[in-house]
């Protein structure tokens, strides 16, 4: 099921390595962060469906950081890092905002919230990965940590050296 496109060699993370991005707070960069997350997850051995879930979770974290964390202020960067650590694929998304009370976010499934047009981002993150943690960094912003455990089948295949690259989606 892995993509094998030798003419388009892609970046592969590798155990113990880290990729870090620093981006201006522009909504237009959300797709880039999503595609990189999904592509790296694919190359790390996750199934297509799990990689899309990881991409969607990271997308929501990036939207939160740009919109609510940095208040769309392009001068404030967001930082996104990806790493393979043990049996985990871990993504960190940092903003420079004043922080927010993530424990107080309303449950979008409650009857009174079902018609709300916002407030589903953190809910999506929690659903799409195994662990979501928020860390306030006093004076420096907020860091969201997203972790997804490798699937057993994926782990077995991770030693393979097939070159894979991001399959670009149309749309």
């Amino acid at each position: 099921m892995r993509l094998h496109e030798p003419d388009r060699p892609g970046i592969r993370l590798g155990v113990g390595r880290q990729i870090k991005l620093r981006l201006e707070s522009r909504i237009g960069y959300v797709d880039l962060v999503h595609e990189l997350a999904e592509g790296l997850a694919r190359r790390a051995g996750f199934s297509k469906s799990s990689a899309l879930n990881i991409g969607l979770a990271v997308r929501e974290a990036a939207i939160n950081a740009i919109k609510h964390g940095n208040g769309m202020d392009v001068k404030k960067p967001i930082e996104v890092s990806f790493e393979e650590r043990g049996d985990l694929f871990r993504i960190r998304v940092r903003d420079r905002g004043p922080g927010f009370d993530w424990a107080q976010t309303a449950n979008p499934l409650d009857r009174e919230n079902i018609y709300r047009t916002s407030g589903r981002g953190i809910f999506f993150m929690k659903h799409f990965v195994d662990r979501v943690a928020f860390q306030r960094r006093p004076g420096k912003g907020t860091e969201v940590i997203l972790e997804k455990r490798f699937e057993q089948a994926a782990r077995a295949g991770r030693s393979g050296d097939a070159v894979r690259s991001i399959k670009r989606r149309k749309g």
Binding site: L52, L56, E60, I63, I114, T117, G171
Partner: protein, 111 residues
């Protein structure tokens, strides 16, 4: 995302394709539905068959469209959500508020 509109008598079908996400798909969805509501269209079907996924902004816009239609005494129904889109509608419990159809003829006849 692309949105193509076709009319079947009193019913308008909007064929959506691509992804409904922040900054692009959500805006195009809003524009497409607002244009129909402004024209006075009362019966709208959003055909989600070609939509690969949505994010929280896309889902939010879908709910906003539903509410705007309701406020204008119009009705907005969904056709053929697939794969991830269907998962998201179930996950968010929005399948409980939307009328969702698998068959276009059935959807057209439902108004």
């Amino acid at each position: 995302m692309k949105a193509n509109t076709r009319h079947h008598g009193k019913v308008t079908v909007v064929d959506l394709s691509g992804k409904i996400t922040i900054g692009e798909g959500d805006i195009k969805l809003k524009q497409a539905v607002n244009a129909l509501l402004d024209e006075g269209r009362k019966n709208i079907i959003l055909n989600l068959g070609g939509v690969s996924y949505m994010d929280s902004a896309g889902i939010g816009e879908l709910v906003a469209c539903f509410k705007r239609a309701r406020d204008k005494e119009a009705s907005l129904k969904l056709l053929n959500p697939n794969g991830k889109v269907q998962d998201l509608l179930i996950l968010t419990k929005l399948q409980e508020i939307f009328d969702i159809y698998r068959d276009e003829r059935e959807a057209l006849a439902s108004f």
